[in-house]
């Protein structure tokens, strides 16, 4: 599966990508919403891991923008602030799930299973 990791923190994006590769995924990284949008245009992306805080940008707002698209890949939000209201807001805006930082490879694997299940139920065009 092709997974896009969107995080302005390069080290965390890199280690998430490495972990996903260890789980058998092909990964792409973006530090900004503009870079993510570009990758979504040029690559076939099956799932997105998106940080809530992207420096000056908001991951939740980007999630809403993605939600307006007809066939967008499933999105897992990750956040350093494991607050209920953020989780609720992310789910309300259409996220498939939330992953609290720091996470281990089992947490990541569970979220990947959700993405796979989602793909089986709603295959992308």
């Amino acid at each position: 599966m092709n997974i896009l990791v969107v995080d302005d923190h390069l080290n965390l994006a890199r280690v998430t990508a490495l972990a996903l590769r260890a789980l058998g995924c092909r990964t792409f990284m973006a530090g900004t919403t503009a870079a993510a949008t570009q990758l979504l245009r040029t690559e076939k992306i099956d799932g997105i891991f998106l940080d809530v805080n992207l420096g000056a940008e908001s991951g939740l707002e980007f999630l809403s923008q993605l939600g307006a698209q007809s066939a967008r890949p499933p999105v897992i939000m990750f956040t350093a602030q494991a607050k209920d209201e953020i989780v609720v807001e992310a789910l309300r805006r259409g996220a498939l799930g939330c992953l609290a930082k720091p996470f281990n490879i089992e947490d990541l694997s569970q979220q990947m299973s959700r993405i796979e299940q989602h793909r089986r139920e709603r295959p992308l065009g």
Binding site: R14, V15, T16, L18, A19, R21, A22, A56, P102
Partner: protein, 345 residues
């Protein structure tokens, strides 16, 4: 001891002479500003740098404006003493039967002391909130990164040496990020609570030391640094002035792009010296310009502000200077400046 500025605003003749004597009695070397109008109270043009405001109770609007005025950092702007009967929760009120120079002098001294303690209290509470925010929020990501890296490392096949090297690099980078954050935050807090004594500084030597520290970054971006042939002597604390220059020059290198030209300059300004760091990069977006020099004690209220310019602002203020940003959009680039008092032997 710094010079104290007192303003007597719209006082009736019955109160004016007593207040003037009291001001001289309380602070023999104070600058006394007589103001017949209320103009400038809010704008601060005529009353810039003022410490104590003495008003009559004849104008409630003026009292309200004076007691609620805050500075750029959101701290109470000046101490207020009201001569009259109307009481205010935010100012000391002295009724006419108590108007005598000796009593008023004590009230003035006490009001100013209370004002300074209040500002100090607000600032320290703000600092504590910022430290808590920076440690609880900014540390979470690099600590989490180390944690996640360790988890990934456990399952990484031993033969995948490239990925293992990348993970180890991640751990090293995150550790460096944590160390730098702790060092920078602690530095500001230590400087604020233990100000130290300013000495005569040769600015040229400080800048030369900073350029040496930034040698690798300068070479990396192929920057050209232009420095003045002579430098002034200022009064300051060497380590702090070093940190100010380091932040401003490294910002210019970071945001100026490859081949950036950085011009370092100075000019006399009042009783001090204005230093500047100008680059020919893309400059600062107008949207973020107002929040550039966010006070350190207000940093807890924002998620995005960096530490560098807040550190520059705090260290400059602690040495009796100020700092500013000027867009040079017509030529492209940014100009950051700060002032320090001239050294007087």
């Amino acid at each position: 001891m710094r010079n104290i500025r007192i303003s007597l605003v719209q006082l009736p003749s019955s109160a004016h002479d007593i207040a003037l004597s009291a001001a001289h009695e309380a602070f023999p070397r104070a600058d006394i500003v007589e103001s017949a109008k209320m103009d400038g109270i809010v704008g601060g043009e005529t009353l810039h740098g003022l410490d104590l405001l003495v008003l009559s109770d004849a104008n409630p609007d003026l009292i309200s404006q004076a007691t609620q005025a805050v500075d750029q950092a959101g701290l109470p702007r000046w101490a207020v003493v009201i001569l009259g009967r109307d009481t205010s929760e935010l100012a000391e009120t002295v009724p006419p039967e108590e108007w005598n120079p000796w009593l008023l002098a004590r009230v003035f001294r006490s009001a100013l002391l209370q004002h300074e303690l209040l500002r100090e209290n607000f600032r320290m509470r703000g600092d504590l909130k910022t430290v808590a925010r920076r440690f609880s929020h900014d540390l979470v990501t690099p600590v989490g990164c180390i944690n996640t890296s360790a988890c990934v490392l456990k399952v990484m096949p031993a033969e995948d040496t490239q990925s293992i090297a990348a993970i180890i690099q991640n751990i090293e980078d995150s550790s460096a990020e944590i160390s730098q954050l702790i060092e920078r935050v602690s530095f500001v807090v230590r400087a604020s609570v233990d100000p130290g004594v300013p000495i005569a500084l040769d600015t040229g030597e400080v800048v030369a030391a900073v350029l040496k520290q930034l040698k690798a970054e300068i070479e990396k971006v192929g920057a050209t640094i232009i420095t003045p042939p002579v430098w002034p002597k200022v009064s300051g604390i060497s380590k702090w002035v070093n940190v100010i220059w380091w932040n401003l020059i490294s910002n210019a290198l970071k945001h100026g792009g490859t081949g950036v030209h950085v011009r370092i300059g100075w000019q006399p300004e009042g009783e001090g010296v204005l230093f500047s760091v100008t680059d020919n990069g893309t400059g600062v977006t107008p949207m973020i310009e107002p929040g550039l020099f966010r006070s350190f004690d207000q940093l807890h209220a924002t998620q995005t502000a960096g530490l560098g310019l807040s550190i520059v602002q705090r260290l400059t203020l602690l040495q009796g200077g100020r700092c500013a940003y000027k867009s040079i959009a017509e030529r492209g680039g940014a100009c950051f400046s700060f002032t320090l008092p001239s050294f007087k032997s």
